[in-house]
């Protein structure tokens, strides 16, 4: 059977798998991103792992797609990724292609890969204009318009996490202030809870919670805890406002929410949708609907990276 490989390179682990044209995950595996200090050894391990998956089952590998932080589609490099062990600009796509006799290898950042996965295998099938946002350790986005991923002239488009929502807001790791990421990432969300607990003596389940995490705050909100619900309300306000501005510029039909905070479901969707609707220009009223990614419970990272290979290396255009 014809397959593409999807690889998701994270700071700790690299997960990879073989995916058929219709999104069937045929086999998957993983290896440590950091165990081999030399990039060449890591790549050799990765190539060996992929060949193991292929085995002698008669699959034909047509292409490889990679999702990686700071991945650039245009030149196939990973550039200065703060959470990966390799410094500088790494021509990862071409280095991996060398190990597979010049097989087509495409690379992009993880949010773009997720958007492609949603388009090929998830809730965005048939949609030409949509946005996918990731609310995890950071905040990222993949924008599809006119049916195509918008990469920008340099391959770095989609940095919704660094849209500023408050010009006098929280300091961001990027050196600026008030970036959406400082509020709508999981760490930003937890920080909001911590600040609310410190600012007021109001009773809250969170005061007895040994560790504040996205999970524990969600559980408290689920149990009706007022302070935890306020954390979602504040996060939804920042996110909804940023999305209202995004809608004014690009008018997507649907907005998919992905990543850790998306697991909170209606707790995050409801306030975000409300603030989005309240801040949307009348001609867009009620149009852009938020929903949780349909790939959240599947192996989304592998599917998204494989979608990149099917879409851009093989050319399985819908």
């Amino acid at each position: 059977m014809e397959v593409c490989a999807g690889l998701d390179i994270g700071g700790t682990n690299t997960v990879f798998g073989l995916v058929g044209r219709d999104g069937e995950l045929i086999a998957e595996s993983q290896l440590s991103t950091t165990a081999e200090p030399e990039l060449g050894d890591y790549l050799s391990g990765l190539a060996a792992g992929l060949r193991d998956l292929l085995g002698d089952r008669g699959h034909e590998l047509l292409g490889i797609g990679i999702g990686a932080p700071n991945g650039n589609f245009y030149d196939g490099t990973i550039a200065h990724a703060p959470n990966l062990p390799w410094a500088g600009v790494i021509p990862l796509a071409s280095m991996l292609a060398e190990r597979f006799e010049g097989l087509p290898v495409r690379l992009t950042n993880d949010a773009n890969a997720a958007a492609l996965g949603e388009q090929l295998y998830g809730g965005a099938r048939g949609l030409r204009d949509f946005l996918l946002i990731t609310l995890g350790t950071g905040v990222g986005s993949g924008l599809v318009a006119n049916g195509e991923l918008i990469l920008g002239h340099d391959g770095f488009a989609g940095e919704l996490g660094h849209v500023v929502v408050d010009w006098a807001g929280r300091a961001c790791a990027c050196g600026r202030s008030g970036c959406l990421e400082t509020y709508a990432s999981v760490p930003g969300f937890v920080r909001t809870a911590r600040e609310k607990l410190a600012a007021s003596p109001v009773a809250s389940l969170l005061r007895d919670t040994p560790e504040l995490t996205g999970h524990t705050i969600s559980a408290a909100a689920q149990a009706g805890d007022a302070l935890a619900l306020e954390v979602f309300e504040d996060t939804g306000r920042h996110l909804g406002r940023a999305l209202a501005n995004t809608v004014a510029l690009t008018s997507p039909e649907r907005i998919f929410v992905f990543g850790g905070l998306a697991r909170a479901g209606a707790l995050i969707l409801e306030p975000t949708q409300r603030h989005l609707d309240e801040n949307t220009l009348n001609i867009f009223a009620g149009k852009a609907r938020l929903e949780v990614s349909h790939l959240m419970d599947r192996n989304a990272a592998i599917l998204g990276a494989a979608a990149l290979a099917w879409e851009h290396a093989v050319g399985a255009r819908r």
Copy 2:
């Protein structure tokens, strides 16, 4: 010779002309948008005017492009345009096509038409990712990504004027607060001058100016008037910040400035570029360059609308 017609429908006048494939304006004319109270009579007058231009010079009319406020590319309608004499949703493209034996007629909003004009005949030739912003009575934008105009799922994308730059800011005619348009349109710019004059007794040439307009404020700034220069600084701050957020999401290679305020040249470009650069994520640093539209001194409205016809009715794809 093969020509397309370009029509720009404004609140007062409709200007129209015949344009060759390479952007040569062959003939032009205009008529009042409001003189005939009936839409049918207006359209008959417009058709007669176009036929007059064609005359018996042997031109072959291949298509008609229309730029109009609230124009929607997908269905060829003008919807609830506040400054046009026709209420409701007007299927203008099909009504005009009927008067030209079904000739292809395409319609979009004026900022999108200007972006297409820039792409086919102006400074954006060869660029696949750019933004054009109009700073006039209102603020609008046309976004081109992957070489194509981004219309959004409903045809209304590009409303940069209604991106909010200050959530506690000026009331906007759209019913919300702090829209970019309330600061970076010509009326918003004049309002900033008026507010500064009222807020401080500092000496300024503008105190002796009989009428505050974009022109008179520019002239004072040109003469070194500190208060007038501050008006440009404030306007550039709001605009530069909104553009920094736009760059994070779409990463255009160039940003063209069009419309009344663009005539101020470096006076508006310099502070806007500075605030854009200061507020841009490091990976975008120094990339998105602002410049004045190359069509400002040509008949841009007609060229833009004709570009729409050449691009989407005839299919002169580059």
